[in-house]
Symmetry: D3
Subunit: 137 residues, 6 copies
């Protein structure tokens, strides 16, 4: 069979973050980011769904072994983000606001380098059950 | 960054409805709509997921503040539908059958007017965990 | 083995209802029941979990066949409540306010008569994911 | 209204399977498929979401009656797969490895023949909450 | 009716925390608390389920209005914990380690003072979907 | 604090099984166990929730480290059951019918030996989202 199919793997990480624009005054940050601007941080259980699209291998019937994909996500994303402060403990958000949008771009860019270019990649990130993002749209 | 990303907001409302075609006889409605044609109505916990696609603002990192989007959905959709009888209490379904498909079109049309045209909009509506619809497809 | 164990079966029904006390004036009902007092009704996807406690049969290893329990719930509860208006279509709530508490008592009483007295019975009823009740407590 | 909308129906089945390539030696199968290559089989609660895209009928407001779609899935898919051993009890996987990808292709092909060609069809299959596939991608 | 029944209300809050014993050396804290001892904090989406047991009021059919209970939880618990750093922003965990167990005790004690003593109270707290606690046991 | 509290850990395993009584004829097994009596087996994604009740340690604030409990479940239960055929690959169900009730008793007995007797233990096992058991009741 040489039909394209999408495969999805769900992982999760728990992290602290603070939303703010360092070039703004505190009250402007409060106005725009509200309680998300708490200088002492708050946090989330992030749920991550990685979608890979391609043709299954004829010998295995797998687009990609889900265990291999899970390990790749753990090694490249979760080790950097899980039980971390996104603003302070990672190099990605020292100057970039860790909104769900920006976290999703960062995870996409990390994974895009690690996943064979013959596959399409899409990343969905849940900040809460009610707020989530997806890239590419 | 000027990459397009989708952001999603989940809201819910509880409503009563009845499915029938007023131009048909009762037994024809029973044949087609079965127990959904109960003249005394039945009801659902509707789950609504609104998807907005656009480029994040460079200053905030947000496509749209999810609190703003949530409030916009509450003011324009939930105030009209939550704890209401869709057939009797809203102006949308006096002549239109409140199937999940038609409720989804109505919510899309309400929100499309309120959301900046630079953003793409998609609405998913769960009538139950097992039956749901999405527009545009 | 002659050890007591609990078995649970989950079923669901969709119904319309209105909460009010017919001996009160409309504004008193509005004050107490708010939007739940909509005279045109609203509705829910009710989730029902029935718990039976007893010793498994030595020949089968079942406390009770879950298919048998599911059918018993369907025949005795769902046929009366699913896709119905609880206030108008059932004999239970013509004079009793169909709060989650009262619906749970009614379902318990219906099932208690149908389930062998050697088993303990408990009923949990979800009106929404966030509001639910359980009897006996 | 003549706008295209997608409708989704969720069903489930429980099945046993074993992943392996019969042209490979046992240790090669173990290396690639790990514990999924257990010769005595393991199993899953598969969740199936069928998506149909089309224009709602003007008389009913339905793209397709979800009960009709549910029955069609039951008759054509669940009767063949539910409580079955996918490798031994079905004709589809005697020579095809029952990966989620291949099961999804088979279900798509079965349903595509039964669903009016005016509708688009997409099938999503959850093997577990964390591993799932979707065709067409 | 004068039968006791339990009613449950689900709320949620997002918070940052760090687990450690200030009287221990850093490496002892690392050994016991692992990545939960990150000095820069991590965080969670906490789900809170409050259970109240009592007899429904004869006039309303409510043990307690779920909206009233929800507001009481918001005013007394969520305003203190939501989008906060549990260690730094609350007075409860300056000397008490904010494990799920200790957070649950604190929430119970806060609510026990606010809820009529005629009702029994139980609190369940989910730190993640896989780790949760309940008091009293 | 020396108050008893319950802590819960959720794990999962995927397994094949067949329900039947070897001392019965095939048609009697079919009559009682229906499609669960498929001689080629079927399978499930089992969800396991282990509840431990005790007093938190004063130094850690933990009843039990959830990572320790998770590892204990993995080593003693999941290694024996995950991706296995319960009837053929385990020593527990060669003569005992692997109903959810009996699997739950076996898991309880395995864990009861490994968990300090100062703690109370309860095991909940989901065979599907709709069918589950709990011991002790």
């Amino acid at each position: 069979m040489s039909r394209k199919i999408a495969v999805f793997r769900k992982e999760h990480f728990n992290a602290a973050h603070r939303l703010f624009n360092p070039s703004w005054a505190m009250d402007e940050n409060d106005r725009v980011f509200g309680k998300c601007n708490n200088p002492n941080f708050h946090g989330h259980n992030y749920e991550l769904i990685v979608k890979i699209t391609g043709e299954p291998d004829e010998q295995t019937g797998y687009v990609m072994d889900m265990k291999v994909l899970g390990d790749l996500i753990k090694e490249n994303v979760l080790t950097q983000f899980d039980h971390k402060n996104l603003n302070l403990d990672t190099r990605y958000f020292s100057k970039v606001n860790p909104t769900a949008e920006n976290i999703c771009f960062v995870i996409y860019d990390i994974l895009r380098e690690k996943i064979d270019s013959k596959f399409d990649l899409q990343v969905r990130l849940y900040e809460t059950e009610r707020n989530f993002v997806e890239y590419p749209a």
